[in-house]
Amino acid sequence: MITTVEEIQRSTTAMRSGELARSQESRETVGDYSVPDARMRCRDVEVWYGDKRAIHGVSLDLGRNEVLSMIGPSGCGKSTFLRCLNRMNDTIDGCRVSGSIQLDGEEIYDRALDPVPLRARVGMVFQKPNPFPKSIYENVAYGPRIHGLTNNKTELDALVETSLRKAGLWDEVKDRLDAPGTGLSGGQQQRLCIARTIAVSPEVILMDEPCSALDPIATAIIEELIDELRANYSIAIVTHSMQQAARVSQRTAYFHLGDLIEVGETNQIFTNPQHRLTEDYITGRFG
C-alpha cells in the first residue's frame, strides 16, 4: 500500500503545484460541456480572489432534470465555481467573477438582475454546515416565511416536517424542534441545512459535499432525495466520493486547479476518462 500512496503523493504533488505555473492559461475542456435546453449555462467563467485566479475560464451547462456532479482534488475550485452559480461570491471581499452565467437564458451577473429571486430559484447547501443560531424549527421555517410560501401555521408546520423528513432528520429532532440548531451534531447540522434549502423548493439546487458528515444510511436518504428532486429540478453536487457521483449523477465534471478538465456522461467519465488527469484522479480512487 505504501508504494501506491507514495506514487500518488508524488503525482498529486505534481498535480497540485508543479503544474500551477504553466496552468495560468485556461485549458481546453475535454468532452461536450454544453447540453441542449440547458437550465444554467456558464461560459468562460473566471473567478479571482484578489489577484489570485481560482477559476480559469470554465464553460459548463447544467441541464434540466439532471444531476451534475463535480469532482476534483481539494482546493481545485469546485466550491468557488458552485458559489458563482447563485452569486454567493458577491459576499466575499475581493472576489471577482467574469464571463457569462445564464439561468434560463438570463444573465445572472447582469447588473440589473436582482440576486434575491435568483437565490430563491438557485438554492445552496454550503460545505460547512451553517445553521442559524435559532431553533431547529425556525431554521427550516425561515425560508418559507420570508418568501411567504405558506398561508398559515399549519401549512408551515407541515412544510417544516416534510423538509426535515426528506432530509432524514425528522425522527431525531421531532421532539426538540425548539432546541437550537447549533446544538446538533455535525451530521445533523448538515441535514438541517439541506432541509432548510429544500424547504423553499428552489429550481436549481447547489450542494457542496452534502453528505460529507453523514453515515451511509443518512447518505442514502439524501441520495434518494436528490434522485427524487431531479424529477422537477436541476441539481449540481460537489462530492469527493466517486461512488456517490456515480450513483446520483447523470453527468460528471472533473475540475483541476481551477480548470474544468473533462465533462461527460457519468458512466463514461468513470469507465473511460479521456484526459490523463481525469484518469489519474479516477484510478487513484480510494474513497
Binding site: 434575491v116 411567504g148 410560501l149 416534510t162 422537477n232
Partner: protein, 435 residues
Amino acid sequence: MTDQTPASAPNKRTIDAVNASLKRRRAKERRFRRLGAAAVALGLLFVALLFTDIVAKGHTAFQQTYIKLPVVLERAQIDPEGSGSAEVIARANYLGIIRAALRAHFPEVTARRDKRALYQMVSVGAPQLLRDQVLADPALIGTTAEVWLLADDDIDMVVKGYIDRDLPESERRVKDRALGWIERLESEGRIAKRFNTIFFTNGTSREPELAGIAGALAGSFYTLALTLLLSFPIGVGAAIYLEEFAPKNRWTDLIEVNINNLAAVPSIVFGLLGLAVFIGIFGVPRSTPLVAALVLTLMTLPTIIISSRAALKSVPPSIREAALGVGASPLQTQFHHVLPLALPGMLTGAIIGMAQALGETAPLLMIGMIAFIVDVPAGFTDPATVLPVQIFLWADSPERGFVERTSAAIMVLLAFLILMNLAAVLLRRRFERRW
C-alpha cells in the same frame, strides 16, 4: 414518498411566490437601506451642526486685540543703577510706564474719571507682559519703543464687533469717550488683532484677555492619562474574568446586573463616593488629577466592562476550542486568540468611555475640581481643573469676552478628544476583521 407537499408540488412554484412579493420586499429593502443612510447622514449632520456652531462662536477667540503705543522705557525708572540685574528690572513700575504712555498719547484727557477710563483700555495684565518683554530684551531700556499692549476685554469685544457701537451709550459697557479713543487708535493703525498665544499658554484668569486654557488642558491630560491607564486594563481584565472564567451562577449574574446598574448611577454619585472614600478615607488630596482620575475610572469602568463583555461574547466558540485543542491554556487562549478578535469592541468601549470622562463635570463638583486655579499643574497631585470644568466656569462668567473663549475652549477639548480617539480608532481598524 407518497405525500404531496408544497415542496414537491411543481405547480406551486416558489419563484411565483417570490415574484409576487418581490416588489414589496425590494421596496422594503430600499426603504430600510435609505433609513440607514438617513440615520448615518443625520448623525453626521448633528456633528457638523454642533461643530459649525462651536467654531462660528469660538474662532474669534484665537485672535486678541492689541494696542500699539510708543512706550518710554527710561533707564532711570527701570534700572536706575544700570546693574542690568533681572531682579531689579523685574521690580520696575511698568504700570506707571504704560499709564504714562497712554497719557502721552491722549494728552487731552485730564479729568480723573476720564483718566481712569483711559487706563482701563489696556489689560491689567499688560504691565507684566511689558516686563517680560523688557526682561527678554534689556536693550530696550533707555529707548522709546513701539510696544503692542494687550487690550482690555471690553475693547477687544468692541474691535471684534461683539459690542454694537450704534447702540445708545446707556446700553453699552464701552462708553462714548472710550469708543472715540478706539476709533482714533484704529485710524492711526494702532489697533490690531494678533494671534492669541496667551490663550494657549496661560492658566485661567478672571480677565478674559488673560484667560488661557493651558492649566485645564494639562489637568485634563494628567487626569485622562491616568484614567485610561487604570480603567482600560481593569475593565478588560474584569470583563475577561467575568465572561470567560467566572463560574456561571447566581453570583455572577448578580455581578453582571450590578455592573450594568453601575452604568446607570448618576455620575455625581461617583463624586460622592470619591469624596467619601478617596478623600475621606485614603486622604487623596482634593482638586487633583489623581482623585479625579480615580473617580472617573470608577465611572468609566462599567462602560468598558460592558462593551468588552459584548465583544468577548461575539467571538465564536470554535476559536476557543481550536486553541484549547492544541494545548493552549485558557489564559493563552484568551490573550492570543480571543482578545485580538474582541479588541475592536473593547476599544470602542474605551473610546466612548474616555470621551464621556473627558466631558464630565458633575462628579468633579464633589471633589473640588470646580475651582479657580491659575497655575498650570505639573503632576498628578497638583491642584488642577479640567477642560469641561473650565468650560462650565467660563460659560457661567458674566464677562462678554468669555463667550467666545468658552467656545474656543470647547474647540480645544474637541481637538483633544479627536487626538485621543485617533490612536484608538487606528488601532481598532487594524484589528477589525470578519470571519
